[in-house]
Amino acid sequence: MATLRLSPSPARPTDPAATLVPWLVPALVLLLWQVLAANEIIPPRMLPAPLAVGQAAAEMAAEGKLVPHVLASAQRALLGFAIGGGLGFLLGLANGSFAWSGRLLDSSMQMLRTIPHLALIPLVILWFGIGETARVFLVALGVLFPVYLNTYHGVRTVDAGLLEMARNYGLSRWQTFRQVILPGALPSILVGVRYALGIMWLTLIVAETIAASSGIGKVTMDAREFLQTDVLVFGILLYAGLGKLADVAAKGLEKRLLAWHPSYVRAR
């Protein structure tokens, strides 16, 4: 019933059978994969069976190798996101709200944005070496622009009629910002955040494959060296899982913050 989510209809499927339907295809694929791999129709060295991947995961967890690596990756990602996203948010707010700031900085930002941040990797290694700073820097750079662009756009496109109303009703500058501009820009800002989260993981994956002494990238690089395809596949699944988790968190945030939005409104 995935299409139902798009409609603002307050009626949601509550039938448990209906909520299971979307999982049917993935479950079948998994089953087929298991059968094919177990009968060695797919060679295990190319793609191990799902159960083998699960086993590898359990072993890693038992040896205490799983959690520290996941934490190391997550920490990097979030630190880079906080720095780059925070900077993009503040710059977007400033350039959207103050004409002088926008005139001074926006065209420069638009120019910088056209440089693919991953193309800077050699330069970044030259600047920071292959340490932690380089990876965090790359993530921050990657998320900066989507957050900036969407914040700037959101602030600039706040309904002019509402701003006029705020002036007429004597709202102070701060009140106008807090009550009108920020909530008005929020849908656009959250689009930027979700987009940036995707870039965050992508950048991290690339950055961790260069060189890392910890993190999921380290696990998969080691696994490749020792031809442990099961661990390798598990590492990829970990990245996917973390990406999904970030997306779910962003969606939850959206639902909470945009409860007023016509596509989320339920009669209170």
Partner: protein, 281 residues
């Protein structure tokens, strides 16, 4: 802009709400003298003279683009005049003037605030006063709703509550009922007339609907060519009904002046000349 010395209106000294004050005394005098306003090369108003006594209800009609909204925007301080003087209670207009509140054609409610919060915005977050104002416009039970789930008429009621909650002494209404269906519009006209009678503020109503102007206003003013082309007192007792023959006569006189046809019915079928200075040259 030097404030003009007008006949000083009786003015309650105590801040609102002044329940003991007779309602009519709460309105403020509004005056425009020789006001001119141009946007770039386009002169919109020129030598506009317009006055409203305290508590008076004045309707402004005229062709689209004649500068009706501009008059209200000048009075609300959203625009500045190029020449002439505007006064509200003897003082020049400024944006955020607590004496004057504006109601727009679109309700302009913050979609991310509940109806009650939208109203409370005008009184620094005072929820009790917001609830009372919402009850006054008949939406006492909808305060918790998002604007997104309210109908167009209900949104305008909330906007009216927001305009009234701080007890303004001048209400500027820019086609507030223009987007509503005929039935809701009649209901809202009744509501506006009632709150105006009770609160006693001065009202300036811009409307396209001549019948609405005649029904509600003490005086109907026709704008044309950047100045007042007709200023007609409506002496009918309230509540007024369209069926009344004098109502019809006034309505026809205003409509004729708006369309610029004094006696030639054939001219009704011509394409109306654009509202501009050429016609009055």
């Amino acid at each position: 802009m030097a404030p003009m010395a007008l006949a000083a209106p009786p003015r309650p000294d105590a801040p609102t709400p002044a329940s003991a004050t007779p309602a009519a005394a709460r309105g403020v005098a509004v005056a425009a003298r020789g006001v001119a306003k141009a946007f770039g090369q386009r002169g919109v108003l020129r030598a506009l003279d317009l006055a409203a006594a305290p508590g008076e209800f004045v309707a402004i009609v005229g062709r689209s683009g004649c500068g009706k909204s501009t008059v209200l925007r000048l009075l609300s301080g959203l625009e500045g005049a190029d020449a002439g003087t505007l006064t509200i209670d003897g003082a020049a207009p400024f944006s955020g003037n607590p004496l004057a509140r504006m109601m727009f054609q679109d309700a302009r409610l913050l979609p991310w605030r509940s109806a009650a919060e939208n109203v409370a915005l005008a009184v620094g977050g005072d929820r009790a006063r917001a609830a009372a104002a919402l009850a006054e416009v008949g939406l006492g039970d909808r305060g918790g709703d998002w604007p997104g789930v309210l109908s167009g008429g209900q949104k305008q009621r909330v906007a009216l509550a927001r305009a009234l909650v701080a007890q303004p002494r001048l209400l500027l209404l820019d086609e507030p009922l223009g987007a509503l269906d005929a039935l809701t519009r009649i209901e809202m006209q009744g509501l506006i007339e009632r709150v105006w009678t009770e609160h006693g503020f001065t009202a300036l109503l811009v409307t396209h609907d001549v019948a609405e102007a005649v029904r509600l206003a003490d005086r109907v003013v026709v704008l044309d060519g950047g100045r007042v082309a007709l200023d007609l007192a409506v002496g009918l007792p309230r509540p007024r009904h369209r069926g009344h023959h004098v109502f019809g006569e006034i309505e026809a006189a205003v409509l004729d002046r708006v369309l610029g046809v004094a006696a030639d019915p054939a001219a009704l079928h011509e394409i109306p000349a654009p509202c501009g200075l050429a016609r009055t040259a």
